[in-house]
Amino acid sequence: MKKWGSFILVLAYLVIVHPKAYSQIDSLKLINIELNGAGIEQFVLALEKQTDLHFYYDVSQFDSITFNINAKKQPLIKVLEQAFAQTDFQFSIAAPDYAFITKGKSVNTDLPTTTASGERSGNNQVSNKMPAYKKPGEEKDNLKTTLENKIYEIGDKSSPALQNSVILAGNVTDAKTGEPVVGAYLHVEKANISIITDQFGYFSISLPKGRHIINIQSLGMKDTRRQIQLYSDGKLNIDMQSTILTIKNVTISAQKLSNVRGTQMGLQKIDIKTIKQVPVVFGEADILRVVTTLPGVKTVGEASTGLNVRGGSADQNLILFNDATIYNPSHFFGMFSAFNPEVVKDVELYKSSIPARYGGRLSSVLNINTREGNKKKITGGAGLGLLTSRINVEGPLIKDKTSFLIGARTTYADWLLKELPDQYKNSKAGFYDLNLNLTHELNKKNTIYLTGYLSRDRFNLNSDTVYGYKNKNLSLKWKHIFNNKINSLITGGLDQYSYNISSNKLPMNAYKMGFDIHQKYFKAHFNYYLNNTHTIDFGLNSIYYKLNPGYFNPDGKSSLVIPDQIATEQALESALYLNDRYNITPEFTVEGGVRYSMYNYLGPKTVTTYAPGLPITESNMTGSIAYEKGKFIKTYSGPEFRISTRYALTDSFSVKASFNTQRQYIHMLSNTAAMAPTDIWKLSDPSIRPQYGEQVSLGLYKNFKSNTIETSLEVYYKRLSNYLDYKSGANLVLNHHIETDVIATKGKAYGVEFLIKKLTGKLNGWISYTWSRILLKQDDPLAGELINNGLFYPANYDKPHDVTVIGNYRMSHRFSVSLNATYSTGRPITLPIGRFFYAGSERTLYAGRNAYRIPDYFRTDFSMNIDGNHKIHQVTHNSWTIGVYNITGRKNPYSVYYISENNVINGYKLSIFGSAIPYINFNIRF
């Protein structure tokens, strides 16, 4: 290195101090040359033959340049001038032996900042091209340019030439905050190999030895590239600049390319910037509501953040918040999602080919990734809305090593409750959520992540019934890089969800009741980058569930309530998985995964037995068996297959197909259409079998206009079995033998999803259209009562047509407007077909489950995002969001019901938001 440094210094002296220090002899030496359409190599070779000079140049810069020169006895300098006359190439003849051909104004000899590591031994090739002028404020660009034009020499040059392929690995980070850039797309030119950084910004790629140019693109980041000279395995860390302050926005997003190139089907990824642009009720950026605008994702209505993905029920989604399972992702009766938008980085939704590392739910995986704290300096932000406020602070604890991120959110909706009629005047409602992320980099190969999450909701309904629920999650993650080929991720954590209700209005009947679920999990994930054609993922997951299905206890001394507690349930769910991504050719990729999952229902528990071959009813109970602690009561197991394949017809057009099977061992019990706060979960047991689902899908992906417009078309067909539905009048709360109240149904779902997406440019957004059906059937008379006479009936969330338009127009960098519109078919309901008189009133007669539909849904929202000025050097940056939810004021029915009032049956439709709802939000960043 020292040698190299002094060499540069000499060069600097020669070039800077004596810019015209051409060697007299060489520069004037007469040359004979005649070339037609020759490349640089030929040109240089010709010159080198006739002079003593050795030319240094960057081959890649001359890719498209050809030389047409006819010179006879011309001085070298003339020849060179002639050759580069119409280009921006410069040449310098530095010493008797050296000449440089560079792109740019001149040769600059500043020592380039290097983040490349790896041994370097000896050199006979260098390129150093720098713009001559540094305009004030251009520093960043220049830095970038420097890094881009520098050639990183990686590896040991003297390494034996036995292997042709070597492994390059490294991290892509945000130059400003030090945070990893997830999902950055690296494409190696010529070799035509691409890779996407993982959730830690890490990548590992196998390349032939030699010179490569890597183009790096990521959403919200300036495109950059690196030139490398690869000798052996080595590391390359890449810093990217964010595009926030650029005038011309030419971002090409990572997922546009990955959409066509990745093997994943039905993967939707949205970053928080996009989420924040979408207008939502009360102006609180809401992750789950934005997810519902994607094709194939539905929700039963506005008061529910429960997602129905491709005909799946709300409990068939695995919602992971930094690996922690969130059982109730909503606040305030489902009005808000439980995730603070300020700490979220992005959201990924897997709905067709679910990677083998995930399992345990049938429909989808919703992966919510939080940001890591800023490693360079303390920053933060705060937001004020009509109903909620939030704050977040982040920064380094040890610079470049340890960072923290804290986010908190709370509500002050009590003022709204004061506006309610008298009977609710004493009500109180509130929620909060807290996030804590710590990241510590032990060394280059080991990083530790600690994530904590707490969310709590509490409602006091006119000092009568107090109702609350909370999520608590803690996880510790250790990322270890063994070498460039293998890295691992070991995660352990605790997830808890509980709800409780208490009432003390009538002292004799005062009670406290509740439900909770605890799970401890361990995940070990290994990523083995075998070579260019094979990338292997393998690992194991294990979850230990402890579920308290319900308690009902007296509250106060005068209460006569008998304490009632349903015995806890325990289970262990484990899975081993192996996944191989096999790039058969650059165009054709197959990804095959197997996940073998095993579920053990564990004691201590007394299990009721039922007469075999008869319906599971109270009258068919035969007895009970008590199992001791740790005893395996029932084991279910089986393989799950995850196969997907991609064939790229062109660079921007590909076809994908996938086949997936899933097993789900935990069920949510809910007899309401919406995801109610009192829903409970149930583990599979000897009488309730795990749910099983399989899905085939086929998709076409085509990008237009340099990948700025992305389109996709996916078709799927899905079969479900053992999906739980309920007998009439099922009692789900504190039921000691819940198996007698549920019935296993079969289901089929199919649909077509269409998406056009443009995330760059002044006008951006997406249009999605879905046509889909989800039908259920219970035709086994042995299983209990038949629903709909054993014929298929639509599920509650079967909404065949669904169109969403999300649009955003950036008038300037400080002002943008967003508009979204959504239309969907009304959801199915059971309507009365007649009436009768009983017990002093008219009563309704119901028949035919879900045979009718509520009126169709249509809504338009509008918002304006106003940013303060973009000067970098100010203490705070402010922004405003002003908008109107449901701008047309349409009364979209959420449900329809019939009620007997004054002995007359009346039908009503109920809307959640019956008018336009304006909102304003103020945000500050520091």
């Binding site: 059971t830 009768f836 004054n902």
Partner: protein
């Protein structure tokens, strides 16, 4: 949960409840509906038979001409004759609680329905019907308990009666000739009494209570809420509460019906449930039938609440009187639409020169109730 529902409703639904016109076709279902509990305390038993009808049909369809018999497991049977359209009654039943009974119904169109055999059920006497007053008015509670800890499932219904008075006790009335008021004279004994009236109300909701989750079979539940300053308690109020005891399935039948028709309209509505029954159509087993056969001692308790027990109840009709001269011109221009109350200035021989008059609703209580005193009224 109900409160929660209500809360969510009010919070979110700001005037967003609209009438819904059903897209479901008008189906003529015509299923038999059997209502009534066999009263085993010697009192009157009424079994009401009717048919389900389409949603848009506003009149009830009583099932006439059926043969309703109470059969016991020893092959004895009693006929319940039809006392009025669709009502089949029997009095003074004292059934043997050690054997089981069933109801057998043969309709005029030759359908036959039979219930399961059920034993007469014990029903503990009502301990008390009590009331409490707070700023939300008066709440009437039912208090009952089963010392044997064996009843658990209760249903109640009630009949309210209240006495109320006209704002002005009228001593005058108009004399009308060809619908024109010509004179004002004193009322006499032959005129209908219009100062004191009674009004009635029957529970329209299914009132259920269970002590299953309590350590003792004790019930104390609010049944009726009377808002402050309301007319029910302006003079004298009375309610008779009847208590029925049920088995688990019968209670569930009532609970489902209640959920389907009363506990709806929230964001978190449960799916409508099919009603369970212990009746079967013998002639056509797939024919749906609505009802649940039950035999118990029907207990009842009546209480009275006087206005004097409720200081500052605050009932106020908002009436005022005007003065009218008793001459044809004045009567013609002023008296129409008002009723005379009492004289102001008397002329010779007790003739009325000027008199007070007020809105009819303030004078004639029969516009809001009945002027016949109930037999049980003190």
């Amino acid at each position: 949960m109900n409160k929660l529902i209500g809360f969510a409703l009010v919070l979110l639904v700001t005037g967003c409840k609209e009438k819904f016109i059903s897209p479901a076709p008008d189906v003529v279902t015509g299923y038999l509906v059997i209502e009534g509990v066999i009263n085993n305390d010697g009192g009157l038993t009424t079994v009401k038979l009717s048919r389900t009808t389409s949603l848009n049909n506003n009149s009830d369809i009583p099932e006439k001409g059926a043969i309703v018999r109470l059969e016991d497991s020893n092959n004895g049977n009693l006929l319940l004759p039809e006392s009025s359209d669709g009502n089949y009654t029997i009095d003074n039943l004292h059934l043997d609680t050690t054997i089981k009974y069933r109801l057998d119904i043969k309709t005029s169109n030759n359908e036959e329905y039979v219930s399961d055999l059920v034993a007469p059920r014990y029903n503990p006497p009502i301990d008390s019907v009590s009331w409490e007053r707070d700023d939300k008015g008066v709440t009437i509670f039912i208090n009952t308990h089963d010392p044997k800890n064996n009843t658990h499932y209760y249903q109640w219904d009630y009949n309210e009666t209240w006495e109320f008075h006209s704002a002005y006790f009228a001593s005058l009335k108009y004399v009308e000739v060809n619908n024109v008021i010509t004179n004002v004279v004193y009322r006499d004994a032959s005129d209908p009494q219009i100062a004191i009236c009674w009004q009635y109300n029957t529970s329209g909701a299914i009132l259920l209570g269970s002590s299953l989750k309590l350590s003792q079979d004790i019930i104390r539940l609010p049944l009726i809420k009377i808002p402050p300053a309301s007319w029910e308690l302006s003079v004298l109020y009375s309610v008779i509460v009847r208590q029925y005891s049920w088995g688990k399935e019968g209670y569930e039948f009532l609970e489902r019906m209640k959920k389907n028709t009363e506990g709806v309209g929230s964001v978190f509505d449960a799916q409508p449930s099919e009603l369970n029954t212990n009746f079967h159509c013998v002639s056509n087993p797939s024919q749906p039938v609505i009802g649940f056969f039950n035999i118990c001692t029907i207990r009842e308790k009546r209480i009275f609440i006087r206005n004097s027990e409720l200081p500052n109840w605050g009932y106020h009709m908002g009436c005022s009187e005007v003065i009218i001269e008793n001459n044809p011109d004045s009567l013609r221009s002023k008296a129409a639409g008002l009723l005379p109350t009492n004289p102001l200035i008397l002329g010779p021989f007790g003739s009325v020169v000027t008199f007070y008059a007020a809105e009819p609703i303030c004078v004639d209580c029969t516009l809001r109730g009945y002027n016949v005193k109930p037999t049980y009224w003190p």
